[in-house]
C-alpha cells in the first residue's frame, strides 16, 4: 500500500492506494494514532485508489473514527473506490462514517452528519 499526506489549513488528508490490509494497517496505525491523539482532531482519508480493503483495515478506520469523536473531532472519508464501497455497504459502515463524494467536498464540509456529503 502507498501513502501520501497533503496538509491544508492544519488538516491532513491521507491518500491511500493499493491493498489496504493487515500490512497496510501496520504501516499507518502509528500515524493515525498520532493524528487522533490531539484535541478536536480533524482528518480526511482518501480511499479512491484503494483496490482492496479487509476487515483489519476497516477495524482501524472504525477505531480512528471513534478516537476522533471521543476527542470532539471529526474524520471524513472521501472518494471510495468500488471495492471499498462494496465493503462499506456490506457492513453498513457507509451509514456510520461521514463520506464525501470528492476531495473538494471533503475539504469544504468538515462537520457533516454521518452519511454521504454531496
Amino acid at each position: 500500500m502507498n501513502t501520501q499526506v497533503i496538509w491544508r489549513d492544519e488538516v491532513p488528508l491521507l491518500k491511500l492506494s493499493g491493498r489496504f490490509d493487515a500490512h497496510g494497517v501496520a504501516a499507518i496505525r502509528g500515524w493515525l494514532r498520532d493524528m487522533t491523539a490531539v484535541a478536536r482532531p480533524r482528518l480526511i482519508i482518501d480511499l479512491g485508489a484503494v483496490e482492496y480493503i479487509d476487515s483489519a483495515a476497516l477495524g482501524l478506520l472504525v477505531a480512528s473514527l471513534k478516537r476522533c469523536r471521543e476527542r470532539g473531532g471529526q474524520m471524513v472519508l472521501t472518494s471510495l473506490a468500488q471495492p471499498v464501497r462494496i465493503i462499506f455497504e456490506l457492513t453498513q459502515m457507509d451509514q456510520v462514517f461521514p463520506i464525501a463524494a470528492s476531495e473538494a467536498m471533503a475539504w469544504a464540509a468538515f462537520t457533516p452528519e454521518p452519511g454521504r456529503i454531496g
Binding site: D54, S55, L58, G59, V62, L65, T91, Q92, Q95, V96
Partner: protein, 398 residues
C-alpha cells in the same frame, strides 16, 4: 475519556460462563470487550439461569454491569421473561447474541425464543441481533434438528418465518458475507449487515511449537450432532500404528445439548485409551494452555452452523488447523485469510492423511500456524464491539 454516546445503556441477551449454552465463549469475550467501553453508562446482561449454587462472576469490568438471569434453555416463556426484564431494567437498546438453537433443544422452545427480538421491537424497544448462523445454510439432519425430509421441510418453512421475525429488529448482524448476501436477496432485507466474528485474544506471536514432546492433537467444542469424534479417534489410531506412535489426542468440551451422553458413549465404545484425554467442560482460564500445548487443532465436523469461534482461537494461538471440506469453514478460510489442511468429512483415512501432512512437515505446520495467527490478529473482538456500539448509536439516533 467519555464519548458522545456516554449515556448509553446496553442490554445483551447472551449465554455466558459458567453457563454452558452455545456461544457462551463468544458471550464471554463480547461481554468483556463491551464492559471496558468507556462510552457505556451501564451494561445489562440478560443471561440464562444457572443451576442452584452456581453464580456469574465478571471481572475487569470498567463500566457498571448488572447481571440478570432471566431465561432458561428450553423454556417456552423465554420471550415474555426477557421482555419483562427489559421493561424493568430499561436499557436504551437490546442486543441479542444468538444462533438458531440458542433458546432450546426442541423445535418449539428454540423457535419461541427467536421471537423475543420481534416482541421487544413491537414493544418499542430498539433491538439488534447478532445471529451466528442462518437457516439457509444449516444441515438440519446433521445438526440434530430433523432426521426426515418432511420434518426438515417443515422446519425450513418455520425457519423462514423466524428469519422474517428476526429481520423485524433494527438490524441483523451476520458474521459472514455470504450470509448477508443470502438474506438480502431472499428476504429483500435492507437491515442486514456484516459484523466479522473477531478474534478473542491479542498478543505477541505465540511459539508455534508445543512444549510437550509428544505431538498433541486438539479438538474443542460441543460434540455429538455434527461434531463427532469417532473419525478423529480412528484417524489417530491409524497414525499411532504408523509414524506417530506417541501421538496424543485431547477431546476438549462437552456434549451438545441435543445429544446428552454422547461422549460417555464414545468412551465406552473405545475403552480406556491412555493417549486420549477427555477434559469435559473447559473453564475460561484453562483455554490458553489447552491451545498452546497442541500441535494441531482438528475440526471433525460433518456440517457447520456458522463462523467458527474455535478456528479464531486456533489462529490466536498460532495453530495450524485441519478442517473438513464443507461449506462455511472452507469459505471462512478463504475470506478471512486462514489456512489449513482439508479432509473428507467422516473419512478417517482422509483425516489421517491431512494430519500427517502437518505432523510430518514442521515448516508447513509452522507456516500455516503463522498465517492463522495473522488472520486472527486482524480484527479483535474488542474492535468488533466498537462496530456494534457505532451501529447501536446510529439506530438510536434514527
Amino acid at each position: 475519556m467519555k464519548a458522545e454516546n456516554s449515556s448509553l445503556t446496553v442490554a445483551l441477551v447472551t449465554t455466558h460462563p459458567p453457563g454452558r449454552g452455545t456461544l457462551n465463549e463468544y458471550g464471554f469475550h463480547l461481554v468483556r470487550a463491551l464492559s471496558r467501553k468507556a462510552e457505556l453508562k451501564r451494561l445489562i446482561l440478560l443471561v440464562d439461569e444457572l443451576p442452584a449454587g452456581a453464580d456469574y462472576d465478571l471481572e475487569d469490568a470498567l463500566v457498571p454491569v448488572h447481571v440478570e438471569p432471566c431465561w432458561r434453555f428450553g423454556d417456552w416463556r423465554n420471550p415474555l421473561r426477557i421482555l419483562r426484564a427489559v421493561r424493568r431494567l430499561k436499557p436504551d437498546v437490546v442486543l441479542f447474541n444468538i444462533q438458531f438453537a440458542s433458546f432450546g433443544p426442541d423445535k418449539v422452545s428454540a423457535a419461541l425464543g427467536l421471537a423475543a427480538p420481534m416482541l421487544l421491537k413491537a414493544a418499542g424497544i430498539p433491538t439488534a441481533v447478532l445471529l451466528h448462523n442462518i437457516m439457509e445454510t444449516v444441515d438440519l439432519a446433521q445438526t440434530g434438528f430433523a432426521g426426515h425430509s418432511v420434518t426438515a421441510a417443515l422446519i425450513r418453512f418455520f425457519g423462514n418465518v423466524m428469519t422474517r421475525a428476526l429481520l423485524r429488529s433494527d438490524f441483523l448482524a451476520l458474521t459472514m458475507p455470504k450470509y448477508v448476501e443470502i438474506l438480502s436477496e431472499k428476504y429483500g432485507a435492507g437491515n442486514v449487515l456484516l459484523a466479522p466474528h473477531g478474534a478473542f485474544e491479542a498478543g505477541p506471536p505465540p511459539d508455534p511449537e508445543p512444549s510437550a514432546v509428544r505431538p498433541r492433537i486438539l479438538t474443542f467444542g460441543k460434540f455429538g450432532t455434527y461434531k463427532c469424534v469417532e473419525p478423529l479417534i480412528e484417524a489417530a489410531l491409524v497414525l499411532r500404528a504408523g509414524r506417530h506412535p506417541d501421538m496424543e489426542l485431547v477431546i476438549a468440551g462437552s456434549d451438545s445439548p441435543n445429544t446428552p451422553g454422547y461422549l460417555a458413549g464414545v468412551r465406552k465404545r473405545y475403552g480406556h485409551q491412555p493417549w486420549i484425554s477427555y477434559t469435559g467442560y473447559v473453564a475460561e482460564q484453562d483455554v490458553p494452555g489447552l491451545f498452546r500445548e497442541a500441535a494441531v487443532v482438528v475440526f471433525p465436523y460433518t456440517s457447520t452452523t456458522g463462523s467458527s469461534g474455535v478456528l479464531h482461537q486456533a489462529g490466536s494461538y498460532g495453530k495450524a488447523a485441519v478442517l473438513p471440506r464443507i461449506g462455511d469453514l472452507a469459505e471462512l478460510i478463504t475470506e478471512e485469510g486462514y489456512a489449513g489442511e482439508f479432509f473428507e468429512p467422516e473419512a478417517p483415512h482422509s483425516l489421517a492423511r491431512a494430519l500427517a501432512r502437518l505432523l510430518d512437515d514442521d515448516d508447513r505446520r509452522r507456516r500455516i500456524g503463522r498465517q492463522n495467527y495473522l488472520a486472527a490478529r486482524g480484527l479483535l473482538i474488542d474492535d468488533v464491539a466498537d462496530w456494534y456500539l457505532l451501529h447501536l448509536a446510529r439506530i438510536l439516533k434514527e
